[in-house]
Symmetry: C2
Subunit: 705 residues, 2 copies
């Protein structure tokens, strides 16, 4: 069954019953009834309240069962202790969808949660769909429905944005602010406790809704992140999803035994999730609107090359700073464009980019400059900054901008400053579908997000290589270890395991005595690494248990004894010394995995070695990783410069690193036994055959049967 | 003479002549005359225009010389080719101050620059002060003057902000937006080309103006950064300065021979300058206002501990995220506070922090909660988020907030969302001096800046140790080298020089042949470092010219030959091999200096070694460094964790590093001969006596006589 099955009954009803409708001002039951009628719902409205005969000039029924007509949607606003019996009546009546406004359920604690569960049992029994409880209502502005089933005090404008809010208050806040900015909605839903219908169901519904071209989400939590990823990945290829995710700082610190765990904050999972399914995350409601109005009214630019046109120096510089600062290309204009500009502007004008036409710029000059900048092959998007001087008619400038815009398919975002702010000229632009911003900085960040979205749309969907042969076998072994009660797999054991699924690793050889160490070193070839291993010794470096670059027998003998002494001092009876080949001339990276309680496994890649937690040069993604994902992870690191040939050093062979990331991804997905994993360092060499893991640790989930 | 001498004639005039006044609508000459009169200038206004008899019902004079009264201030709006003769007349008339609105001077190129210079000669001759040319005018809202000598279309509200704008258009934009927000100004000046009066003169003037309590700056360039630093450092101890500095990205890339140079972007200098004199830098005009209205109306919080009070869950979470995300402490409330809250709120309310009183919260509950949060000793500042529910009277909530605020000296910043946005309740709060924000994120960043300012005010002014004895001597030597035509001082020579001013350095010993290398290594003790030195060989590492950790004669002999071979291959006839003691167990840092064309020397400190330009973990400050500055530079680095004991390693002795930074500061200040300097690495060891410079390079300015 599709997640969105049955949602038509909620969003496209022909008849609505308001159970708990009243005529008393200041009550939710009155406001919803009033909103439905005054917004012009095209179907029939039936107020239900045993204590009233008529509400809002409409006959009122004592119960939903008394209504002679069939009912598609019931809005429930009764007291919390009456909700269950009303749900029963709805079920018996054959209602398809229910919106429960009433609060006092899961959000107030265990007793409420029980009430919610009891309610859901009945809902399931009758096969209804439900939004809420504890929500603000639903809206569909389509002319066939004109349904405002909320208690909002602002009527939403019709438009092409579908908006889901997990908070009722914020939902109302956003509807209200949008109305002020002239931004309209196709549909809106406040999902409250998400007892049945969640954000995922709405995404699924809006994916197929032709009236919804942009989706806004206000999220506080994720119910089913995997479902979200799957749906969102598809939608974002055709419709942008803009999300505010709050609740960043609530998770607090987690106990962790790996670097990967220590580096993965709660929010890393959200960012990884959004990034991998092309969702645009904004950090504030302000930014949400900046972006929404641009997507709403203008095409997505083809690339990041902007032209800035201004009639005032200072604001032009601000725009340039903001654009360049956020990674847009304030591009060099085509010589032809410059020629046209020079021929038509006074000599005091600046014809580079930004183009500063100075205060005397006329509407005709605006039109001429916009036409030539729009035609410039180097330009993908335009920023127009206008500070109305006293001698210039701002309405005519607005008209010039509107006219020029009709002759191009490149996006225009404008800033009307000073006396232009909120002026008639700015209003005329807004009405014509050209977004106006108060200050130029917001335009720059908006374009940057649009460019990011365009890149996502162009990005290939990803190649997912099959899992290496050894993965199954390795999972078996780990399950055996876990059954035996082991939770930590370290050093040689861990290296051996990861190498069995195809991740290259430098083997460790146990030297039971010094003589054997000499032989082993001879065998692997000097220089070698000596390590101390012992049960439960997680942080070898911290106890001085690692000696690198041991070059000959003399040094080996000395260090062997030192390590043995340390083992005795620290009372590690099962301590053993291992010999490993020393890998030189490579870059130490770290690969890892940590399991997020909400998002499941997160894969990490970063600059490794002992400073990993200091430099924090790491990237996270959610499995399954595609080849493109693996490449991007490395590509986003500062350490990338070290891998691609830095200051005379050779360029590293990235293949083994990519392969290791992909294998790691295959190993951990759908295999919850591994709770954390670190490969640190994984040395990446110019010659790929020399690359490999030098140390590793695996943390297994306890309580395995 | 004080920088601000004579400014009273401009800002506190008793009589003003408008030279170029007209009655024609849409001209600047008309607008200024109109603004002066309609704003209610308390002194006399004299229009000057040979072509008019009367303007705005006031007798008009053919020339300023015809006015019978003395004139304090002349506003010049005539054509650019008439400005010089008008200035002459002003001088002969004995005018004290002149504001030249007319453009067409330095900003249009060499011809205009000549005109400006000719004008300034006359201005100096007559001993006048001048604002402009190419500016937007000046304002003083003090009731004794009520002067609006601009052509702004918005009359400014009186207030306590002094505002200087380097861009006329942006000046008007900001005045206009401020009026909308209800923010008032004490004085305003658009400084245009800054031919005479610059931002520094205005700072100097406003420092002593009791009506100006906050200073806003919009800057595009710095005339005299040292003067700015000196004045700003004093002012910010008593009045906040909030600045937007634009033109970040105009400098482009510079050719540079040092890491320090490569890492110092143009903007690093501005940030360092502002930081060291307590100026609060904002990145957008939006943020400028967020901050201005808070400083304007609320006290600076004593610390960073905030309490969040809300009647709606979602917005409360947004506020918490934003506050915690920007480094504010969403503090644990005092048990007493929680007790009071629990006793007076319904059981569904959340009494932690954020305090969520849920939608039913009454005005009395708001007042009770605010009183107890304000009295909480753990709380420094309050964030109040209110989304008006239908059953609650928002005006009474506003009154409750206003009342509670009168009983505490802790700051309140509020957010009225949804139907509260721009509502009567929000207006009532604004009138009562409690700033209202549309969304909670802006409150968090505003408090963060206020907290930063409070920390600056508390910060001791700084201890500046005297220059070490060797500095004079070293400067002599460098001057000699420069006279001899040398521009690069590398390796051994550079180390020897910096060690002479007291920065510890590991000496280099030249080995003319292998035998001597053996002896030297024996002398300094194995392990040693071998380096190849040659004229002009700046990047030794890149040619494989450095071998570290050479442990015995056998290795030394082998590496000696390899290095000699490399020298031959690279055709370095004067190549020599040097031996240096190997410093182990320390952290490699980098110290450096680069000269900014605008700000002069910048001192850098960061994580060193070969990865310095990859990790970019560096901090910049302007000399002279105080001991506090040196400490802060290290304190702000990620690498600090490596220095203060990381994963079982010892804590490093920071004294030699601090001392080296201070010495470097003394060496380069007022000594422009050094254009760049790198000490990389400077190894910092647990035992301070082992710390020191391992390599260094000094770039000298050419053309020294």
């Amino acid at each position: 069954m599709k997640l969105s099955a049955g949602l038509d009954k909620i969003f496209r009803p022909k008849s609505i019953a308001i159970v708990g409708a009243t005529a008393r001002k200041g009550t939710i039951g009155r406001e919803i009834t009033h909103n439905l009628i005054s917004y012009g719902f095209t179907g029939k409205v039936f107020p239900v309240n045993p204590a009233a005969e008529v509400i809002h000039s409409i006959k009122c029924y004592p119960s939903i069962l008394d209504i002679p007509d069939p009912i598609d949607l019931a809005i429930i606003v009764v007291r919390k202790d009456l909700v269950l019996s009303v749900i029963d009546e709805c079920g018996r009546k054959g209602v398809g969808g229910v919106v429960v406004i009433t609060s006092g359920f899961k959000e107030v604690g265990p007793e409420g949660a029980k009430r919610e569960e009891a309610m859901m049992e009945r809902v399931r029994h009758y096969g209804m769909r439900i939004i809420g409880p504890n929500c603000f209502g639903v809206i569909n502005t389509h002319p066939d429905f004109m349904m405002n089933a909320t208690f909002s005090r602002t009527a939403p404008l019709p438009g092409k944005i579908g908006f889901m809010s997990q908070s009722g208050a914020l939902g109302e806040g956003i509807l209200n602010h949008a109305r002020k900015l002239g931004i309209g909605f196709s549909m809106f839903a406040s999902v409250g406790n998400k007892a049945d219908i969640s954000g995922n169901a709405l995404l699924d519904y809006w994916m197929d809704d032709p009236a919804t071209e942009i989706i806004l989400l206000y999220l506080e939590s994720f119910g089913a992140p995997e479902t979200f990823t799957k749906i969102a990945r598809d939608i974002t290829k055709v419709k942008p999803i803009i999300a505010v995710k709050s609740g960043k700082t609530t998770a607090g610190a987690r106990a962790t035994a790996s670097h990967t765990g220590a580096l993965a904050g709660y929010d890393v999972g959200v960012d990884a999730l959004f990034d991998q399914c092309g969702v645009l995350r904004v950090n504030s409601i302000e930014e949400l609107f900046d972006l929404a109005k641009a997507f709403d009214r203008q095409p997505v630019p083809k690339g990041n090359r902007v032209a800035i046109l201004t009639n005032a120096g200072g604001p032009g510089i601000l725009a340039t700073d903001a654009a360049a600062g956020i990674g847009l290309d304030v591009v060099r204009l085509d010589p032809k464009t410059i020629e046209i500009l020079k021929a038509n502007l006074p000599p005091e004008a600046a014809t580079g980019n930004p183009v500063d036409m100075i205060a005397s710029a006329t509407p005709d000059q605006f039109e001429m400059a916009l036409d030539s900048l729009s035609a410039d092959p180097n330009v993908d998007a335009l920023i127009v900054v206008f500070v109305p001087p006293i001698m210039i008619d701002e309405l005519r400038v607005a008209d010039a901008i509107i006219k020029a815009r009709t002759r191009t398919d490149k996006p225009y975002l404008t800033c009307f400053m000073g006396p232009g702010e909120g002026s008639a000229g700015a209003d005329r632009l807004k009405v014509a579908g050209i977004p106006v911003y108060t200050f130029p900085e917001a335009i720059a960040s908006t374009y940057a997000m649009m460019v990011k979205y365009a890149a996502w749309q162009r990005r290939p969907s990803g190649t997912f290589p099959p899992a290496p042969a050894g993965v199954h076998d390795v999972r078996e072994s780990l399950t055996q270890l876990a059954r035996g009660g082991q939770t930590l797999v370290l050093g040689g054991e861990a290296l051996e395991i990861i190498s069995r699924c195809g991740i290259p690793a430098a083997p460790l050889w146990v030297a039971k005595e010094m003589e054997q160490a000499f032989n082993l070193a001879e065998l692997v070839g000097y220089p070698v690494v000596l390590k101390l291993e012992a049960q439960g010794l997680v942080h070898k470096t911290e106890v001085g248990g690692v000696v690198t670059d041991v070059r000959n027998e003399l040094e080996l003998g000395k260090h062997y004894q030192t390590l043995m002494r340390r083992a005795q001092e620290r009372n590690l009876p099962d301590a053993r010394i291992v010999v490993q080949a020393m890998v030189k001339g490579g870059v130490e990276m770290v690969l890892g995995m940590v399991r997020d309680p909400q998002f499941g496994p997160l894969i990490m890649c970063g600059l490794g070695g002992v400073f990993v937690e200091v430099m924090k040069d790491v990237a996270f993604k959610l499995p399954p990783l595609s080849e493109e994902d693996a490449f991007e992870m490395v590509d986003h690191l500062k350490a990338k410069r070290l891998l691609t040939g830095y200051r005379g050093s050779a360029s590293m062979d990235l293949k083994p690193l990519m392969d290791a990331l992909l294998t790691l991804s295959r190993l951990v997905e759908d295999f919850p036994l591994i709770s954390e994993l670190d490969i640190n360092p994984f040395v990446v060499c110019p010659d790929g055959t020399k690359s490999g893991a030098i140390d590793a640790r695996i943390v297994l989930a306890g309580n395995v049967v």
